[in-house]
């Protein structure tokens, strides 16, 4: 008879091993799925995980890695802090969209003037928009006890409708020949978020993501607020006795993750996306949840997980082009990855033994 014995402390070795096991298990299961669908499994896995970095067209796809990883890491760094405290912001996608809209609105209000302050003002507006959108679930939870999970998620759908309304209404490009969507910010020098180092894909958002990793690491391991967050997640009652106010933590965690998601939104709107369209939300907010878990809610882990998930995005696009794999394959992969991760997580919290415990 197999027995599960709870560990008194989570195992560090397994904490590092389980994400790697989850990735391998995903590759194997994914391969089986491809085989069932009638694709060559080895070629498909190679196309997704290897070719974007080292394949024949790698020089084209490699810069995309940072372009995709930037927003994922930026959003996941914020989400992980809340998850540590048991505060579930799953509406980052909505905060990302609203951040993008707010920042883009500032740019479009100033159009066509060229000002040195415009880009910083857009960044501030983007962060503010994401923060404000996240404060809705925070306030509703603190004031009325409404579930932040459901409210933040509902607000994703609302944000998507706002984006559609903006693209067809207030922010529509007057010179767009009637097509929905805002002016393209990439063609507006003061407002654009260009590639800063040629050939790397690194724009301001990528640097912001690196900064976010560093800042959240300092916060969580060196700052009293980080200690409070960890305490609240591990032992809520003990944290309360130690003077941690849950309301403050809810507002802080949701607000911070919202602001970071909003930043990701405006960097995207001013850079790779270029404009606000009705499909501006591209799922980064949801994938970032997987990034946060795969990175074990740890800043360094999130950095690596963000790069890996970015790779699946690019690899998925490549496989779509070269092997005609459906676009949804990546989504299935990401879902499976989270399944395996959560499943293997058992090993970090329990010892498996045979026989009857003493």
């Amino acid at each position: 008879m197999m027995m599960l014995i709870p560990r008194t402390e989570t195992s560090t070795g397994w904490q590092i091993a389980t994400p790697i096991m989850a990735v391998l298990a995903t590759m194997i299961t994914g391969g089986l799925l491809f085989a069932i669908m009638g694709y060559d499994p080895v070629a498909a896995i190679r196309t997704i995980f290897w070719d974007p970095l080292f394949g024949p067209a790698a020089s084209y796809s490699r810069p995309q890695l940072l372009v995709k990883a930037g927003p994922l890491i930026l959003i996941a760094s914020g989400l992980a802090i809340g998850f540590r405290a048991g505060i579930w912001n799953i509406g980052a996608e909505g905060q990302y969209i609203i951040g993008g809209i707010c920042g883009a609105a500032v740019a479009l209000a100033a159009y066509p003037g060229e000002h040195w302050w415009l880009f910083p003002a857009m960044i501030a507006a983007g962060a503010f928009g994401g923060w404000a959108w996240a404060m809705i679930p925070a306030m509703l939870r603190n004031r009325f006890g409404a579930s932040e999970i459901l409210v933040s998620l509902m607000l994703v759908y609302v944000a998507q409708k706002v984006a559609a309304w903006m693209a067809f209404g207030p922010l529509k490009n007057p010179e767009g020949f009637g097509f929905p969507g805002s002016r393209n910010l990439q063609q507006y020098p003061s407002a654009s978020n260009p590639e800063l180092i040629a050939g790397t894909g690194a724009h301001w958002g990528v640097f912001a993501a690196a900064l976010a990793v560093l800042a959240t690491w300092v916060l969580m391991s060196r700052h009293i607020r980080g200690f409070h967050i960890r305490a609240a997640g591990l032992a809520p009652r003990a944290a309360r006795f130690a003077g941690v106010r849950p309301e403050t933590l809810v507002a802080f965690c949701l607000g911070l993750s919202g602001a970071l998601a909003g930043l990701a939104g405006i960097f995207e709107a001013a850079g790779p996306a270029g404009q606000i369209t009705d499909s501006f939300g591209s799922g980064y907010g949801f994938t970032a949840i997987i990034v946060a878990f795969l990175g074990r809610l740890n800043p360094v882990g999130i950095l690596l997980a963000g790069l890996l998930l970015a790779l699946t995005y690019i690899g998925g696009e490549l496989a779509q082009l070269t092997m005609q794999l459906p676009a949804a394959t990546v989504q299935v992969f990401q879902g499976m990855l989270l399944f395996f991760l959560l499943g293997f997580d058992l090993l970090t919290r329990f010892r498996i033994t045979r026989g009857v415990p003493a």
Partner: protein, 295 residues
């Protein structure tokens, strides 16, 4: 004037998917499990049901297939949370993401196909609508008047005590999760087979999340779920009516109404549960907590 004879069938149709999904989730939550994968199970049901209905030409077989498919994917969640003791919130989210991806992957082949027609049942409402309505008293009766229902509630209220009495906590919960999956699957299939009449990617559009909110709104009771589903159906129909009437509000803003109404209702009901003297009476005591028997 709004004609009641057309309005009521519209309201019934709009509320049925949410009714099924929320009734299923009600059983799951009364057993002490929070499954946030409703949206994922619904979309899988929507596709499986649609595909079967198209292949066999029989919409009712589609609903059977949807129930089976919904229950099947819910077993992944059961494996994670009941056997591997994974966090329920994260596992539910994973199920939603996986379901949406899986349905998108296999749904490509079904785009642009029309669903076989469903004959109207009594009073112009099809049989699935009636099944949904009949499920409300049936589930109420099961929960409040039968022994298995009592055990299920006991497991949800205090899993340690239920275990101490010798009830198989994990088996009861796994059964509840499967039932929730089947009901979500039927709800999803109602969208593809009976409302939209075709398959489009992401067609459940948050219905699963609204169902989760309605379970909170219901204060974890079956009649409350019905009231919540009708309220939601009413808002949806009203919003569609206003769109059709050409009200001078952008369509995108009108279509926010169901989501905003859900938030509003959630806030009102949470406030009542928070401030009333019977605070927390509705929510099962062990909701969202995993059970691990040490003895």
């Amino acid at each position: 004037m709004i004609d009641l004879t057309t309005l009521i069938p519209m309201l019934m149709a709009a509320s049925t998917p949410i009714l099924f999904a929320a009734l299923g989730e009600l059983i799951v939550e009364r057993a002490g499990v929070l499954n946030l994968g409703v949206e994922g199970m619904m979309i899988v049901g929507a596709l499986a049901g649609f595909a079967t209905a198209v292949a066999t030409g029989n919409p009712y077989l589609g609903f059977v297939a949807a129930a089976v498919a919904g229950a099947a994917v819910s077993m992944v969640f059961a494996l994670l949370t009941q056997v591997l003791l994974a966090n329920q919130v994260a596992s539910g989210l994973a199920l939603t993401m996986f379901g949406l991806g899986l349905a998108a992957l296999f749904g490509k082949a079904y785009e642009g196909i029309k669903a076989p027609a469903m004959g109207p049942g009594p009073l112009g409402l099809n049989w699935i609508v009636w099944l949904g309505l009949a499920s409300v008293p049936a589930i109420w009766w099961f929960l409040n008047r039968t022994r298995p229902g009592l055990i299920l509630r006991g497991v949800g209220e205090n899993h340690d005590a239920a275990h101490g009495l010798g009830h198989p906590v994990r088996r009861v919960r796994t059964g509840a999760i499967a039932f929730g999956g089947a009901m979500a699957g039927i709800g999803g299939a109602f969208i593809s087979i009976a409302i939209v009449l075709q398959w489009t990617e992401g067609m459940t559009a948050g219905a699963g999340w609204i169902a989760l909110a309605i379970v909170v709104f219901s204060n974890w009771t079956a009649p409350g779920v019905l009231a919540g589903a009708w309220l939601f159906g009413g808002v949806t129909v009203l919003q569609l009516r206003l769109q059709a009437a050409g009200v001078a509000v952008p369509v995108q803003l009108l279509s926010m109404a169901p989501y905003l109404a859900t938030i509003l209702v959630l806030v009102l009901i949470s406030a009542r549960q928070k401030f009333s003297r019977r605070a927390g009476l509705g929510a099962p005591g062990s909701l969202g907590q995993n059970f691990h028997a040490l003895r």
